[in-house]
Amino acid sequence: MPRRDEIGGWGALPRFIGAAAVTLTYLFLLAPIVIVIFTSFNPTEANAFPPTGLSLRWYHEFAESDGFVSAFLFSLWLGILAAIGATAIGFLAAYALLRFFARRRELGQALTMLPMMIPHVLISISLVFMLTVVELPETLTLLLGHIIICLPFTVAGILSSLDAVDRNLEHAAFTLGASRARVMWEVTLPLIAPGLLSALIFAFIVSFGDVYIALFLSGPGKTTLPIEIFNYMNWQSTPVIAAITSVQVAMIVVLGLAIERLVGLRHVMRIEETRR
């Protein structure tokens, strides 16, 4: 067979065009992020690229800005709590869907995806509106909102981990005398531990990157990092933003690689490689 068959039937020229298109697309995809990282080392006020020098000035600025640092910490805590909440609740839901309501699985899975199908702006205003009716602390509402938008991801990720668990392992444990709780604790949970950890990390990333929920629910001293940046950028824009976002990007790349090592990112993103 000629080699061109292996690349899906591009002829020589179309193949060149194809390769160029793919390269340009990657350039398009990555340029804005790479440029942010370069800009963060800019010594001047301008959001300019190419940079005119090299300095850590904006990282200092970030570290010394109370507003940004406290927003960063707030986002961190919020993300951790939301991730734990969404992973725990998501595990229970995924487990129930597979083990108790297996026949209604399709329907159940679709229902858990609900927050993905509603624009996040609407989720957010609903939460604000809820606060006018029910007295709830704003931060708690924000946390609940983040748990809600993380749940579709955690449920889907844990579902696919659970799918990979051999039912016979649980059956074997049952016949050996283990109660359902014991089986869950001693067999199921250890087997899906990588999936749970990935769900945790992914939920953290979703929460940390969220703008829409926090946009309506942030208050003084309880502002998430993206909102602090957004508010700042509405008035001015200096490379301090580049420094902050570079830190954020670095953090996310590390976390993303961790997921990749654990279960494979594609798994979490529910990108199907095989025919169903």
């Binding site: 059956h171 074997a172 444990a173 049952f174 014991r182 067999v187």
Partner: protein
């Protein structure tokens, strides 16, 4: 004694298994044999309590187990893929059931050690399942199921994941261990040789029901239906009708004009009943010289297949009927070629009721 009374399992509208009536004697090795989808694994899972039956009852030594969850049935199950906990060592796998029963650690250690000796696996204690060969995994699964001293040992296609040589050896080992412990065992398989070599009795299953329950000899010699005769070994079925019946032995006239006399007649068949005369290839005598014993039939070889230790011959007899014969591939049988005319004698023909269309 384990009893199943009219047990039925449905999956939605489709029948999983049943109605099944079955009694397993203490210390017996019984195998559920059948093609895939015949309900044999479902039946095993019903006994283990992993599925609840929709109808019927399951009794163990007279007590009703039907509503008892698998945790409290005390059945040792060896799964088809062994289902060893991949995150636990061999020792931890075998000890699992004992731990669930609250056995003390010292007792667990001694029991696990003894059991690993019994199944022939000393020295593997600290390894993980993926570090073991298929045969070793199988033995760990067996040890894990036996160490809890179960009332019944259930084996779901226990040998299907092993290679041919290992499978042969494990059949004998499995049987020896079962005999030594005197435990009641129920296995599931689709492999007739496996079923026959291991079992005291074999329940042949088809479409959710037990087609025939008998000793291996009984199944082979006296198949109750055409399905049973076809599933166990090879056979040629010659359609015919019972012409006369004398002292439990029938004379049968076949549609192809051949006559058979003195065939033992199963109960429930009378004169005029539509039957198949069942002729097994390995029970056909070929007469190559001029002798002409009573009942010998003229035949011509029309095809020959050589498969190493055997030659299979297709033989056309009167009326265009083609019979099969299997002979060891040595001496005078080896070089028989198509076109050769000879006589044959069908030994031990059997009768099987014919229900497909003819009445």
């Amino acid at each position: 004694m384990l009893e199943l009374h009219a047990v039925v399992k449905r999956y939605g509208a489709t029948l999983g298994a049943g109605p099944i009536d079955l009694t397993v004697e203490p210390g017996e090795f019984l195998t559920l044999l059948g093609p895939s989808g015949c309900g044999k694994t479902t039946t095993l899972h019903l006994i283990a309590g992993l599925h609840a039956p929709d109808e019927g009852r399951i009794l163990m030594d007279g007590t009703d187990l039907t509503q008892v969850p698998p945790q409290r049935r005390n059945m040792g199950v060896v799964f088809q893929n062994y289902a060893l906990f991949p995150h636990r060592t061999v020792t931890e796998n075998v000890a699992f059931g004992l731990r669930m029963r609250g056995v003390t650690p010292t007792e667990i250690a001694s029991k696990v050690g003894r059991m690993l000796d019994l199944v022939g696996l000393p020295g593997t204690e600290g390894r993980l399942p993926r570090q073991l060969s298929g045969g070793q995994q199988q033995r760990v699964a067996l040890a894990r199921a036996l160490v809890i001293e179960p009332r019944v040992l259930l084996l779901d296609e226990p040998l299907s994941n092993l290679d041919a040589v290992l499978r042969k050896r494990m059949r004998a080992d499995l049987r020896a261990i079962q005999r030594r412990l005197g435990i009641t065992a129920i296995a599931v398989t689709h492999d007739q040789d496996e079923a026959f070599e291991m079992s005291d009795r074999v329940a042949l299953m088809d479409q959710g029901r037990i087609e025939q329950l008998s000793t291996p000899e009984g199944l082979y010699d006296r198949p109750a239906t055409r399905f049973a005769a076809e599933f166990i070994g090879e056979a040629v079925f010659v359609p015919g009708r019972i012409g006369s019946l004398v002292g439990g032995r029938a004379r049968v006239a076949t549609e192809s004009g051949l006559g058979f006399d003195g065939i033992p007649c199963p109960d429930g068949l009378g004169v005029g009943a539509a039957v198949y005369v069942l002729i097994r290839p390995e029970r056909i005598d070929l007469i190559l010289d001029d002798a002409a014993p009573a009942g010998a039939i003229e035949a011509e070889i029309v095809d020959r297949v050589f498969s190493g230790e055997q030659v299979s011959l297709s033989l056309r007899v009167a009326g265009g009927l083609v019979l099969k014969a299997k002979k060891p591939s040595l001496g005078r049988f080896r070089d028989l070629a198509p076109g050769r005319k000879l006589r044959l004698l069908a030994q031990d023909p059997r009768l099987v009721p014919r229900t497909d269309g003819a009445t």
